[in-house]
């Protein structure tokens, strides 16, 4: 049903012009271009021939790609969950009118400011069984201690989770904090009268009120998941073997080192469609609920 709408100010259209241009020229254009390249035999440069789905076929015959998708799924679930939880907790604890709030906030945020090329190396060292934590524990006499995930086929991806959570949860904290501070004091007072324990207020009242911040954080983290690359390169280079390969690294390898932008484009398109398949239902449900609620 087409519902008549009140006239939207002309200025609103002017205002979103930059967005429209960006979307059409930069994003839509790139997507179409990428889709086009993905059905060509392009190597270093885009070619104009048409090879059908052969890049896609090759892609899905590539074990490393399939493994990347699998890895990123595991990684994504853990990373997003951990970041949201830790970020929220940090925001909550920082919100307790603590001393040195500014310093603490900076401490939790600083990883976000550091290039992963260097911090990834530090993590690699710290997690390295012969240099880092395990070694220290051994030296302290706890010789059974074992913490060698980074060299373990099955565990390496979790070390990426640890390091990236370390990097990103500060940002989630900042987002949550900005949302938390927006909650009306009166709500807090009401909850105090109701005798609700603080943690419960955060959980049952404040957190639902932070819906917008949470969803922003979620999308942000989701984007990070899909694009995770630096951390893997700096820490494990996708290894041991291909145990911590991720799609973005796959794409980057083919884009540059392996000079096969056709395959890289096909991978990007597949990645995009996968994201769409995950996000679209969420988006749909949210919109429906909003429509019912408004």
């Amino acid at each position: 049903m087409v519902k008549k709408r009140q006239n939207v100010s002309f200025a609103a259209y002017v205002a979103i012009l930059p967005m429209a241009l960006t979307v059409l020229l930069a994003y839509l254009g790139t997507m179409l271009w990428t889709a086009r390249v993905s059905v060509s035999s392009s190597r270093t440069f885009p070619a104009s021939d048409f090879v059908g789905a052969s890049q896609y076929i090759r892609l899905f015959n590539n074990e490393r790609w399939l493994l990347s998708l699998q890895n990123v799924a595991v990684y994504g679930v853990l990373f997003i969950a951990a970041c949201l939880i830790i970020g929220f907790l940090l925001a909550v604890f920082i919100d307790q009118k603590v001393m040195a709030e500014g310093a603490l906030r900076t401490v939790f945020l600083y990883p976000y400011a550091m290039s992963f090329v260097a911090t990834g190396l530090i993590w690699q060292w710290i997690l390295n069984p012969e240099l880092g934590i395990q070694e220290v524990l051994h030296k302290l006499g706890w010789t059974e201690a074992q913490f060698d995930w980074i060299v373990d086929q099955d565990m390496a991806i979790y070390t990426i989770v640890i390091a990236t959570v370390w990097q990103a949860s500060g940002l989630v904290m900042a987002l949550m904090l900005s949302g938390l501070r927006g909650v009306d004091e009166e709500i807090w007072k009401a909850a105090r009268i109701d005798g609700i324990p603080r943690w419960r207020v955060y959980l049952s009242i404040v957190l639902p009120m932070l819906g917008a911040s949470v969803s922003t954080a979620f999308v942000l983290l989701f984007v990070m998941v899909v694009k995770v690359f630096d951390a893997v390169v700096a820490m494990t280079q996708g290894g041991p073997g291909t145990a911590s390969e991720v799609p973005a690294k796959f794409i980057m390898d083919y884009l540059f080192g392996r000079a096969n932008i056709g395959l890289a484009s096909a991978a990007s398109i597949v990645l995009l469609l996968t994201v769409l398949a995950i996000v679209a239902p969420l988006y749909f449900v949210r919109n429906r609920r909003a429509a019912l609620g408004a």
Binding site: V8, I86, L121, V183, T216, L272
Partner: protein, 302 residues
């Protein structure tokens, strides 16, 4: 302390609340924060001590040990004399270039993101929702995939390899997340305020500039944190789009720490990394005062 506190448990201790008494809850809060801070600081500790050790000591591989031959040489070198190809000026060379890129890019990308978010939340122009959906999809395309076509576009309008070019590029890449950030923030504000401003005759820009922006400080701080960090730390886009006169300091940083087959000076790398991040770190530290409480309180009843 109240004299009765000890022997009459049923009477709540009279205490001036602000004096920060050490209740178990309080201790718990600090306990958590301290443990968390230690976890967060561990890598920084390693970075710092690595940066003040000579390479011989680093090669020994005693990661957590304090330096035995403390040296500031790596810092000096990182800042002003490390070689990155023919140049041996450390990372300081690109500092002002970075500033010249970060400031306008941050402002522009936040401004556009805020306007987009505002338009999407309150005005909903026809088709904007669709544009936004595509924009958000675009956020999931690896930046590197987009570089080639964007190079062509920018070259076509003669902005490739220029300061405006790199600013536009950062704005483009920042747009999805900035728009999302502001859209969601505005969606959580009471709609009544917007309505009141409409009644008051406010047009699109007025309401945005005089009503919405002042209420946006917390989210602007987050946006600034994200954009400044992102743009300051970017080197790939700067390298490709900025042109050789405007290369940001991260290109130098990358050159210092990211060699493949050259020998690596870890101490210099760490020093350079920390030095490069000083600007965002300073920003984080001072951003606190804008995380204001209850920015919209008192606005609506109910």
């Amino acid at each position: 302390m109240h004299p009765n506190a000890a022997n009459d448990a049923s009477i709540p201790t009279p205490r001036p609340r602000r004096s920060g008494a050490w209740t178990p809850a309080r201790i718990g809060v600090y306990g958590f924060l301290i443990v968390a801070a230690l976890f967060f600081l561990l890598p920084l500790y390693v970075m710092l001590i690595t940066s003040v050790k000579p390479m011989e000591e680093i090669r020994l591989g005693t990661l957590f040990a304090l330096p035995q031959n403390f040296t500031l040489e790596p810092w000096v070198q990182a800042w002003s004399s490390a070689c990155t190809g023919l140049e041996c000026n450390g990372i300081k060379g690109g500092f002002w270039n970075s500033v010249a890129i970060v400031v306008p890019s941050t402002i522009l990308s936040i401004a556009i993101g805020a306007v987009n978010g505002y338009a999407l939340s309150f005005w909903r122009p026809r088709g904007a929702g669709f544009l936004f959906a595509i924009l958000m999809m675009g956020a999931f395309i690896p930046v590197q995939v987009m570089i080639y076509p964007l190079v062509r576009v920018l070259a076509a309008v003669d902005l490739f390899s220029s300061l405006p070019g790199i600013i536009i590029i950062h704005t483009i890449f920042g747009m999805p997340v900035m728009t999302l950030l502001f859209r969601n923030y505005y969606a959580a504000l009471p709609l009544e305020l917007f309505k009141a401003a409409r009644i008051d005759g406010g047009g699109f820009w007025r309401i945005f500039l005089q009503l919405m922006l002042p209420m946006s400080t917390p989210v602007i701080v987050v946006a600034v944190i994200m954009q400044v960090t992102g743009i300051w730390n970017d080197f790939l886009l700067g390298l490709v789009f900025a042109g050789s006169e405007h290369l940001p300091m991260t290109v130098q940083l990358n050159n210092i720490i990211n060699t493949t087959t050259g020998e690596r000076l870890y101490n210099v790398n760490m020093a350079a990394t920390i030095l490069t991040s000083v600007v965002p770190l300073a920003l984080y530290f001072i951003s606190g005062r804008w995380f204001v409480r209850g920015i919209a309180s008192g606005a609506v009843k109910g």
